[in-house]
Amino acid sequence: MALVGRSVPRADGPAKVAGTARYVDDLTRPGALLGATLRSPVARGRLRGIRRDPAFDWAGVTVVTAEDVPVNVVALIEEDQPVLASDEVRHAYEPIALVAAEDPVRLARALRALTPEIEPLPPVLTVADALARKAQIHGPDNVFATYRISKGDAAQAIASSPVRLTGRYRTHHQEQLYIEPQGMLAFWDANGAHLVGSLQCPFYVHKGVKRTFSLDDAHVDVTQAVTGGGFGGKEEYPTLLALHALLLAKKSGRPVKMIYNRQEDVEATTKRHPCEVTIESGCDREGNLSAVSIKVLMDGGAYVTLTPVVLSRAALHAAGAYRWEHVAIEAVAVATNTPPNGAFRGFGAPQTIWAIERHMDRIARELSADPLELREKNLLRVGDTTPTGQFLKESVGVQRCVEEARKASGWDKKRASLGAAAPTRPVSALLRRSAPGSSAPRKARGIGASVFLHGAGFTGSGERRLKGRVAIDMLRGPSGKKPLFRIRTASTEIGQGTETVFRQIAAEALWVSMDRVEFATPSTSVVPDSGPTVASRTVMIVGSIVERAARDLFARTENERQKGGGSFDDAALRLLAGKEPVVSEKTYETPGDVVWDDETYRGDAYPVFAWGCDIAEVEVDLDTFETTVLGFWAVQDVGKAINPLLCKGQIEGGTLQAIGWALNERLVVEEGRILNARMANYIVPTSLDAPRFTTVLVEDPYSMGPGGGAKGIGELPMDGGAPAIAAAIEHATGIVRDDLPLLPEDLFAARRTGT
């Protein structure tokens, strides 16, 4: 029947297209109040009090402040963030108090009737100020985390290289802008705390609630509602929102629903970390790379959240998809008084991949080499070792990605025929005033490439520590004849197709049709902790546990069949007739040869990497510097595509987010406040901005991956888009940009200053 490898229609599709899928704002409970948040207007200050307008009629309005919070910490990696500010306010929009009321008008007015009284303190707004300790806002030195990776002797090797190049590459904030804003419905009953919400990681919320309210496992239930996109934005933040809704529910004695509006969502929730990367490299005149030294500097915002993990992934991807004999990487994340940055698809890697890919183009420029050839020459291969000393023993499909991308895009021809015809031709020649009546070309075309990798699963010993679990139940079917199977996992469906892919994997291993495999709504009282839905780990890691549990049930049933005869279903029914429920629960087993040392940052950073090559063809209007993406080729090694259609959908969606990051999106932050927290001015691509994608799946299987070799690809497509676009713009116009974004104003300014 071969379900794996087929583009079966997504299981949650019919409910979504019929409008019957229930997102959190579509749910309510009898007597529910609406909740809202009072936030800090300033980036830093001392909270002196909260004034309640005495003229306002407070009847029926619930107000919660820090005093009402049992344990005032948000339990994430560290416990530095309060649920509600009580003393020092550390960023604009930091929650200060909560309000609940019967209806939205009362709610809006009650919120306006509260005024935080804050004595401003000088804020630390930039990374430079944080490092200079303009004020002490975190620990002794304002540093959240530092990582070092080293292999060989980079400094010495660079010094003795014939070609030494240095560059500095900056990337900016990015807002996830999932179309469904964050929301949570909370209530209490005799069994404790209940939450239903838009979220990626039910057990993160679970942990936070247990900590703040000092509850045990059994008294907290967190259920995922159908979730309208996450992209990392609903990874750690929902914990805070859940705590807020629960506090209001507790104090009011009523269920409470909190739904952020768009502006609040953009202002208050986490974003991609801005980053600055300095690269120094050494190679020979033929373009054989030998050594690289990289410094990564990240702005973590006001609280730790997931910053250390993001920083670690940034460092681990900083040397790119290339072979370097000598590597030195130092990565530092600092605190500033800006809204906390956190998880966003790619998780640090897009920032450092941007840098290394722009640097590869710099080397190509210096050597007058074809940028794709230079990359090909230095690609990692099976048998090579990465900067952490990880030996690549299989599934390195990057060479094939490059070959396919080169072919599909017509690279060779376009590289020669498009662009600033001769590489040495000065930009000004292109922009020279045309004589009256002449029809000088006002548009320039170019093509550019990027090559990248993305480690699938948690970094280092993460999976080993986490021990993700999945259970599959065998259940009596509705007719009593055909047994059903139910997958219980905390991995959530957030649009990426978890439910469909898991059902495919399980059905295939059980030799049953897909309609006999159900997917339990992720609820912490029903599903085991499979770990969070992050880090491109869902299909590859959790999917492999699903596969093992399904295989186990199949083997048990098959065993029974051989003993007692009849069909598979007969045997299954005999098993179900027993007293014990028929269930298989499996725990992730890290392959024995994957070893990692957290102290030295050496070993197998990831079980395996997914690889990709992106090629962009652009046209730049030389009058207005608007960039149109004419074509985009995304060729990615996914190991094995369980569902090619869903897989391509992931790649296209992720790639457009990367293109948007480069060409449209720009978060304007002044004095720690966000000036464009609206969809009208935080600009993401529309259908008319998006290119036509040619998406090619390369399959170089990973021996431990489910379905015959699948690797995690959720984040990979976010990595290569921006540098490919920048390279294409450079080819078209000669404008070299080392910093994101590439808005028309940026290209115009770069053209003028010649930088």
Binding site: S7, P9, R10, D12, G13, P14, A15, K16, V17, A18, G19, T20, A21, R22, Y23, D25, D26, Q176, L177, Y178, I179, E180, P181, V226, T227, G228, G229, G230, F231, N261, R262, I494, G495, Q496, G497, L645, L646, K648, G649, E652, G653, G654, T655, L656, Q657, R678, M679, A680, V684, T686, S687, L688, A690, R692, F693
Partner: protein, 158 residues
């Protein structure tokens, strides 16, 4: 104010504040939560419904302006067990991922195909340019709409 209109083919009348947003009427008293709110300012299109057959943002239309008119929402296209051909195409061709933008996009696409049964890719893209999707990169959406148009044409000719 008493507001009477034809909603998904049925006559409805209800008392509502005249300046209540159509979006809130649909999702609240009328119980039709298929229409979504993504921005409340006309930018995202996830609240798109058809007013007298034309796509509008239900977050920018007020109750008083709907009196005497017809409104079509995603619930009026088909049901979970009886999907319209367009809805079905979105399931088959991967036009929906997280699905929050999908009802709005279906309405814009429905209006397009009603007016222009065989649209080109450019026309398809233009018709959904007021509907932001952050998940798909749009390509599967365009394919879904194209697929529905093709199926219709082959049904009519066959």
């Amino acid at each position: 104010m008493r507001i009477a209109f034809v909603l998904n083919g049925k006559k409805r009348a209800l008392d509502a504040p005249p300046l209540a947003r159509l979006l809130d009427l649909l999702r609240g008293p009328l119980g039709l939560t298929g229409t979504k709110e993504g921005c409340g300012e006309g930018e995202c299109g996830s609240c798109t419904v058809l007013l007298d057959g034309v796509p509008v943002n239900a977050c920018l239309v007020v109750a008083g302006q709907c009196d005497g008119r017809t409104v079509l929402t995603v619930e009026g296209l088909g049901t979970k067990d009886g999907l319209s051909d367009l809805q079905d195409a979105f399931v088959k061709e991967g036009g929906a991922q997280c699905g929050i933008c999908t009802p709005g996009i279906l309405m814009a696409a429905h209006a397009l195909l009603t007016a222009n049964p065989q649209p080109g890719e450019g026309e398809i893209r233009e018709s959904i340019a007021g509907n932001v999707c952050r998940c798909t990169g749009y390509q599967r959406i365009v394919e879904s709409i194209r697929h529905a148009a093709k199926e219709r044409a082959s049904r009519e000719s066959g």
